[in-house]
């Protein structure tokens, strides 16, 4: 289900290089990560998923759902785990995965109580989203430095998240009925 370009040695080398470019915040975004057929299956599962409200006003407001089966299959696959290991140079073990939906008035604030995973993997499943609406994922190191992820529809982003806290920017009223969908995988 992975776009074959991401399984080529040359591509992996480029991804490694990109990942290590900024030592203060290591991340790499892989656009069009899935094959067309896999993307279609994932989207169908996302649209059929049932979401429930998840809200603590001082921390977050959003809806959550179980991860689609196709994504469960992906994260259990050897080729996906190998790809992550090759990019970051360490063995990566998935510890949690969840699907989120953000619409108007939704957000996630940085929480000091929140324990950071070593790595976050963000799968962006939102067609036609403009970051001017908010709803983008960003990280901060707590020293005034902010790192906004440039995720796009169908992209997978690997972030070394230890020592950083993530937030999702408040979704403003121009989103109207549009919703943003993410799957966030925590790993160590």
């Amino acid at each position: 289900m992975i776009n074959p370009i991401y399984l080529k040695e040359e591509t992996v080398r480029k991804l490694q290089s990109h990942y290590y470019q900024d030592p203060a915040f290591r991340s790499v975004t892989m656009a069009q990560f899935f094959t067309e057929k896999a993307m279609e299956t994932i989207l169908n599962e996302v649209m059929a998923a049932e979401f429930t409200d998840d809200q603590i006003a001082t921390m977050y407001r959003r809806q959550i759902s179980q991860t689609p089966k196709s994504i469960d299959t992906l994260i259990q696959s050897e080729e996906f785990i190998n790809l992550l290991r090759q990019i970051c140079g360490r063995q990566v073990e998935i510890i949690a995965t969840r699907m989120y939906r953000y619409g108007h008035r939704d957000y996630k604030i940085i929480s000091d109580d929140q324990e950071s995973a070593s790595y976050d993997i963000i799968i962006d499943l939102t067609p036609d989203w403009d970051d001017e609406l908010g709803g983008f994922v960003a990280y901060t190191d707590g020293e005034g430095n902010f790192y906004r992820l440039g995720t796009t529809f169908g992209s997978v982003t690997l972030v070394e998240s230890r020592d950083h806290h993530d937030y999702v920017k408040y979704v403003n009223h121009y989103a109207n009925e549009l919703k943003r969908y993410f799957i966030i995988i925590n790993a160590k």
């Binding site: 006003a57 937030y167 408040y170 403003n172």
Partner: protein, 224 residues
Amino acid sequence: MVDLDLEQIIQSTLLQKWINPIWLDKAALEQLHQEFADAKPFKHAYMDQLIVEDQLERVIEVLTEQEFEIKDSDLFQLAQTADFDDLDQPILRSFKKMFQSDQFVALMEYITNVDLSNAVDMLGNIYSDTDYLLCHDDKLIKRKVAYILYLTDLEEEDGGALHLFDTKDEQPNKIVKRIFPRYNRLTFFEVTRQSFHEVGEVLQPDIYRVSISGWFNNTQEVEA
């Protein structure tokens, strides 16, 4: 704590220069004191038409010429001035001096029944289309009473209201009160670990929620 009785506060020439006479009235202040104490979900109140009109116009004229820095984080999005102490503007400094005078602090102590010192923070704010401040409690050791003096009118459909949350298990639960910005309205509330509030998103282009806000502090008190 400032040692002035209500009569001395009301007779203050400084307050008579700045404060609308309707609020320098014993019965009005006694009623407000009771409203504040009884308010839900936490102690709060507001005073409409608080500042003498021509004085407020002078403040606004200078304030709107100041530099407002864009503040953008996970928790808020707005534009804000530096503290009025750091702005080289006599009228803004005079306004702040009035707020931190013994007489005005004593007035706030009478209404809120909270011990305050003369340390007051004061900043100018502009919330424009899509700006917001998400739910928080304002709690820092020295902050005792938060205040907002609105300088523009916003209607319900404009957004920008102050939302007050009730609590469940010491966490914010639901918005149970909305206070709308009205020109020359001073809204204030006691800052506690339960004073959860937010500023709703401004929902219209060309609508500006302009305010002066800050905190009455107690710098003598050290929290255990």
